[in-house]
């Protein structure tokens, strides 16, 4: 029996052998982060709910391809990111982002205190983030929210570290520009 605080890799090996309980443990460990990432990529709570499930089901199906040298979180985010991009393409949202819409986060829902604490500046940042091109949004979320290293981001997005470095810089400059425009 595995300790519930054991490393992901032990659970992945069990899940690879078809143990669904082991996979459920992995889902519980990563579901909030994957959901938040997809929420910010898609801008919709309902879409994020659906795509989070899709991402995990795809991960289950792709488990035999997982290699022990790959960090499970990085591998999972690669699947989640591809799921998000597919959905954006399918729904033709890549080019169209409503500028003035509020962030369709889970409304006053389960954590009203935190909602109340959200400053105007944070809301503006979220709105600016939604206006950012998806390839800039994804890389900034991985860096700033998921706090991944350039190497990890490179693995998630299949980019060289040099490209990660330059794209993050461009994404930051673009976000600052959008943010500044929204203040004018």
């Amino acid at each position: 029996m595995l300790a519930s605080d054991g490393p992901d890799e032990d659970w992945v090996r069990r899940a690879q052998a078809g143990d669904r309980k082991a996979f459920s443990e992995l889902v519980r460990r990563h579901q909030d982060r994957v959901y938040r990432y997809l929420l910010r990529m898609l801008g919709s709570h309902d879409d994020a709910l659906e795509l989070t499930q899709d991402a995990f089901v795809k991960a289950w199906q792709a488990l035999p391809l997982w290699q022990p040298e790959a960090q499970f979180r990085t591998w999972l985010f690669r699947i989640a990111n591809n799921t998000a991009l597919d959905a954006l393409r399918r729904r033709k949202l890549v080019e169209f982002v409503p500028l003035e819409d509020g962030f369709d986060a889970p409304g006053p829902g389960p954590d009203p205190e935190r909602q109340a604490q959200a400053t105007q500046e944070v809301r503006k940042l979220e709105a600016s983030l939604r206006k950012l091109a998806p390839e800039h949004r994804e890389i900034l979320l991985l860096r700033e929210v998921e706090e991944m290293s350039y190497e990890e981001i490179g693995r998630v997005l299949s980019l060289s570290e040099g490209t990660v470095k330059s794209r993050i810089a461009r994404a930051r400059a673009a976000l600052i520009e959008i943010h500044a425009r929204s203040r004018r």
Binding site: V27, Q31, V57, P110, D111, Q117, S166, A169, I176
Partner: protein
């Protein structure tokens, strides 16, 4: 610092914020930013952005995805993970090796034929040598006497 570089050094500043700059470059950029009116505010903006991201709310889904996903996995349409297909040893099929075997046999036959022809040729070529050597033999070639006069009885 390279005088050819342009300001703001956006990429390097971004890497500096991310702590992804190697030490000598980091120190040099710090020194540059301290005296550069263009790079300094960019660095401040990048750092403010980081602070802004850190303050983003962390919405919780309020859903147990593990149960939902497990239900979907359990449904008929979602196959169980299969072990990575191992490369299967190929079955031996005689017709796949027949052309190579035929080619090999032909090559061997041709080699044997050419070899025997060469051997025959060498025997033919050896004959003049044998004839030449025959000059030194006790019996002259053709059993003819090279000096007829010497063979002729002088009658003395």
């Amino acid at each position: 610092m390279n005088s050819g570089e342009e300001c703001p050094r956006t990429e390097a500043l971004s890497a500096l914020v991310d702590n992804e700059l190697e030490e000598p470059a980091r120190r040099a950029l710090d020194a540059h930013v301290a005296g550069c009116a263009i790079c300094a505010p960019v660095l401040v903006q990048f750092r403010q952005l980081r602070t802004g991201f850190a303050a983003l709310p962390e919405p919780v889904p309020g859903v147990d995805f593990a149960a939902l996903v497990d239900r979907r996995i359990g449904a008929a349409g979602v196959p169980k993970p299969k072990p990575r297909p191992q490369p299967q040893p190929q079955r031996w099929r005689w017709w796949q090796v027949a052309p190579a075997a035929l080619g090999g046999a032909l090559s061997l036959s041709l080699g044997a034929y050419l070899g025997s022809a060469l051997m025959l040729g060498s025997q033919v070529a050896a004959r003049p040598v044998a004839l030449q050597m025959a000059v030194f033999a006790a019996t002259p070639p053709g059993a003819l006497c090279p000096a007829l006069q010497a063979c002729k009885p002088t009658g003395r």
